[in-house]
Symmetry: C2
Amino acid sequence: MTDTEWLRLNRQICFSLHAASRAFNSVYRLILKDLGLTYPQYLVMLVLWEHGDLPVKKLGEQLRLDSGTLSPLVKRLEGAGLVRRERSAQDERSVRVHLTEEGTALRERALEVPPRIMSATGLDLAEVVDLHARLERLTTALDAAAEAEARAAG
Amino acid sequence: MTDTEWLRLNRQICFSLHAASRAFNSVYRLILKDLGLTYPQYLVMLVLWEHGDLPVKKLGEQLRLDSGTLSPLVKRLEGAGLVRRERSAQDERSVRVHLTEEGTALRERALEVPPRIMSATGLDLAEVVDLHARLERLTTALDAAAEAEARAAG
DNA sequence: GCCCATTTAGTTGTGTGCAACTCAGTTGTG
DNA sequence: CACAACTGAGTTGCACACAACTAAATGGGC
C-alpha cells in the first residue's frame, strides 16, 4: 500500500467512527428535545434510573467522565429540577446525586426513546448487540494503547 | 424484554459508540501531540493533503462540519502556520484554504500516525475495513432518520 | 496526635460541535 | 435594471470533553 493510500484509509476509518458518533448525537438531540435533555444528560439520567442515587465519583466511573465534565452537567440537571445534590454525612468530600420526584417521573416519558433510536439505526437487535460487542473490544484495546502511550511518554 | 432491560440495553449500545469515539480521540491526542494538532485539525490536514487546496465549503462537505466549527478551526491552523486563507477572485464569498510549505512538509511526519493508530485498535486490516463499512451504513441510516424526524417536527 | 499522601469535587481554560444569527456577494425573475 | 431569494463565511452562545489546577476532607505512618 502506498503512503497516500494509507493516509486515505486511515482517514476513512477514524472519520467513520467520529461521524457515526455525531450522527447518533444528532438523532438523540431531536428525540430528546421533548424531554429537555442533551445526550450526555440523558446518559446520566439512565444511570440514575438504573442504579438509583450515586456519588459523582461513581457516575463518572459508569460514564468515563471526570468531574470537569460532570460537575457543571449535574448542576444543569439540578437547575432543571431533575436531581438534587447532597454532601455525604459519612464522607464530606463526596456529593451524592439524588433523583427528584420530577426526575423519577421523567423515566416514563423516556421509555419511548429506545425503540425510536433502534428504529433510527436501521439495525435489528442481533446486529446492534454484535456492534456493541465489537465497540467494547475496540474501546478496551484503545484504552490499553493510550495507557501504553502515556507510560512511554511519561 | 422489560422496560428496565430496554433502557439498560439502549444505554449500553449508544454509550459504546460514544465511548469508542472518545477513546479514539484520546489515542489521537497522545499521538498527535508531537505534531501540534488536535484530532479534528488532523482530519482537515488529511483532506488537504489528499485533495489539495479547497474552499471552506468543500472541506465542510468532506468532514460534515459547518462553518461554525470550521472557521475558528482553520483560523487556528492558520495561526500555526500550516495553512493560508485566500478569498476567491471568481466568487468573493468563497475562501480557499491553501497548504503552506510548512503544512505540506508536516505530511511526512504524519505518515507515522496511521500504523500507530492501527496498532492501537488491536484489529487487523480486514476487521477495520469491515467495521468501517458497518459504521458507514449506520451513519447513513441515522442521517436518514434524523432527516425524517426533522420533517415530522417541522 | 501530627504530618503527609490520597481522594473527591469543583474551577479554569482550550477546543470542538452545533444552532441561530449576521453580512457580503451572487443569482434568478420580472 | 431592480429586487428578492439564495449562498458562503463568519460570529455568538451554549454544552460537552479534557487537561491542569485548587480546596477540602480523609486516612495511614510515625
